[in-house]
């Protein structure tokens, strides 16, 4: 091991209490950042879950639609006009909306109904753990997620329920289709969904458009846009970005999560800076000795920076372990914390930067140091 690294590590480990305090600060900070950004990633993924699972080449939505859950309406007759456009293979109307689910005791609880033409397979429920999707083609049949069974007061497959006064039967059970609004998603056929949501037959929420093989998506997007006014034509990516942007930034939720992460970075930086500074002050005569025996300033900076990097690596390793436990614990919750490989790498870099920036105050202290001090005692 290089001597400069030996010196840095021994300086760091010499005062174990201070080192433990530093690590606690880093772990607290990194876990906070990890959780906040993991929530952000998880939230970002949840708000686009329907778009991500739909087999759409293009989405046609009402002008100004903010997200998949936006209740703006389109004229159902647009389906014919869309179908008539060159290179359009199929057009699948989607109906969404809130409804009331009657609980066994008679009370009501809100649900969010999602419906499309199940014959076209463009927006089917996924992760089916009981029952069959094909059964949803029958009127008055629904799919519900097992996570919400207790809340909806049902036992499982085959349960008969009532939605907005209309009878419904659970013929398919999903697992893990959670709503970020905590209102359960209920999949139904189009006609039933209109009944459950009270949507008039002449209206739909969105259209899913599929292209003919070999068709140019961008050109078709323009063709639709110029042929039909009052609508927006979006690629799945554009629709997902718009939904994410709305829910994360339009509502302030994302800003709050980022503010939490920023707070973590600030707290971590201050803690590491404070402990590195006090460690450097404690070793000031040693650094002055190094300077007196002729070492370049960069050598001293390296000692301090190595201390910062060691803090970062050890602190991050512990924080990552804590983070993984948190991820496992929230995996089945309403809002899972999602930590991707990129996020892991990004947070490691952030930790490094945080610790290196923290070292600046300590480095500044050594810049002001006069090597003559070693002769005066």
């Amino acid at each position: 091991m290089p001597l400069v690294l030996t010196l840095a590590s021994r300086n760091l480990f010499q005062d174990r209490l201070r080192f433990a305090a530093t690590l606690t600060g880093i772990v607290f900070s990194v876990v906070l950042v990890m959780v906040q950004l993991g929530l952000y990633a998880g939230f970002g993924r949840m708000v686009t879950t329907m778009i991500d699972h739909a087999s759409a080449d293009l989405w046609v939505v009402a002008k100004g639609t903010t997200s998949f859950e936006d209740l703006s309406l389109l004229d159902a007759n647009l389906e014919k006009r869309l179908t008539a456009i060159r290179d359009v293979a199929s057009v699948d109307p989607v109906v969404i909306g809130f409804s009331n689910w009657r609980l066994p005791g008679g009370a009501m609880t809100p649900v969010f109904v999602v419906a499309s033409d199940f014959r076209q397979n463009d927006l089917l429920p996924w992760n089916i753990v009981a029952g069959k999707v094909d059964d949803l083609k029958q009127r008055g049949t629904i799919a519900a997620d097992k996570t919400y069974f207790q809340r909806l007061g049902v036992s499982g497959l085959g349960a008969s329920v009532e939605i907005r006064g209309y009878p419904a039967k659970i013929v398919a059970v999903t697992e893990g289709i959670r709503s970020f609004t905590t209102t359960p998603y209920i999949f139904a056929d189009l006609a039933s969904a209109r009944a459950y949501t009270g949507l008039p037959p002449a209206s739909v929420s969105h259209f899913i458009v599929r292209l003919k093989p070999g068709a140019d998506r961008d050109r078709l997007k323009q063709d639709i846009q110029s042929a039909i006014s009052g609508v927006e034509v979006l690629t799945p990516q554009e629709f997902a970005n718009r939904s994410r942007s709305f829910w994360l930034f339009g509502t302030g939720a994302g800003a709050a999560l980022f503010a939490g992460a920023l707070l973590g970075v600030i707290v971590g930086t201050i803690i590491v800076a404070q402990t590195l500074y006090s460690s450097t002050k404690d070793h000031l005569y040693e650094f002055a000795t190094l300077r007196a025996i002729g070492c370049a300033k960069s050598y001293i900076y390296r000692v301090i920076l190595y201390q910062a990097v060691l803090n970062a690596v050890i602190g991050y390793t512990i924080a990552a372990a804590v983070g993984l436990i948190v991820v496992a614990l929230t995996a089945t919750s309403a809002l899972p914390i999602v930590i991707s490989k990129n996020l892991i790498g990004g947070i490691f870099l952030l930790t490094l930067v945080m610790c290196v920036v923290s070292a600046l105050a300590a480095i500044g202290r050594t810049i002001r140091m006069d090597p003559v001090m070693v002769l005066s005692r």
Binding site: R10, Y299, V372
Partner: protein, 245 residues
Amino acid sequence: MSEALVTATGVTSVLGTGAAQVRALNNVSLSLNGGELVVLMGPSGSGKTTLLSVLGCMLTPTEGNVHICGLSTAGADAEELAAIRRRFIGFVFQSYHLFPTLTAAENIQLALDVRKQRGRKARARTAEVLKTVGLNHKARAFPRELSGGEQQRVAIARAIVAEPAIILADEPTAALDGTNGQAVMKILASVARVPHRAVLVVTHDTRLTNFADRVLYIEDGRITGEERPRSKIGLEELPANPLRA
């Protein structure tokens, strides 16, 4: 004796500002020649440490010139002065200033490391110097496990390991008993036995003049006298030169 390794000409050093301003050195001129050990003596506040700081390129004089092995320190910035120290000067401090978290061998190796001398050769040179100061069996000991005399011998080993032309020692025996002080001075005197190396020892201790080729007296920032001791310890009483000729 050989050529002058250090020359100071008309060095004046004014420290502090305003009412606290002090003329620590006043028109000091001296030279340190190769092959000699010079003892600088003077009372507290006489300017010994300031002169050592100036000669050791840690303090730029207000007036005057200092040449180290022919190089003028005039106009040199902090990094250039550090480079001169790295290249030509070894320091021995009163309080040893060893690194408490490093072993004796690592403390010595550090002086090579800052000069970018690393690896097997550096380790071998460290072992060699440790042996010369009689501490090869303490290579892995930390400073807290060493006596004061042993710590000062490690500090001397650190000062000489890179074979600098000039060794500057600040009160090297002040914290030691008589026996250890004599042992330390013998090592320093043996270092100065080579024509192209010089040692300057700053001290209060008059007993150390026996090791000196010259004794300089300083008072109120001026060199007030110079003498050559009559009863200098002979070469045969000194240990082998720890620096290669």
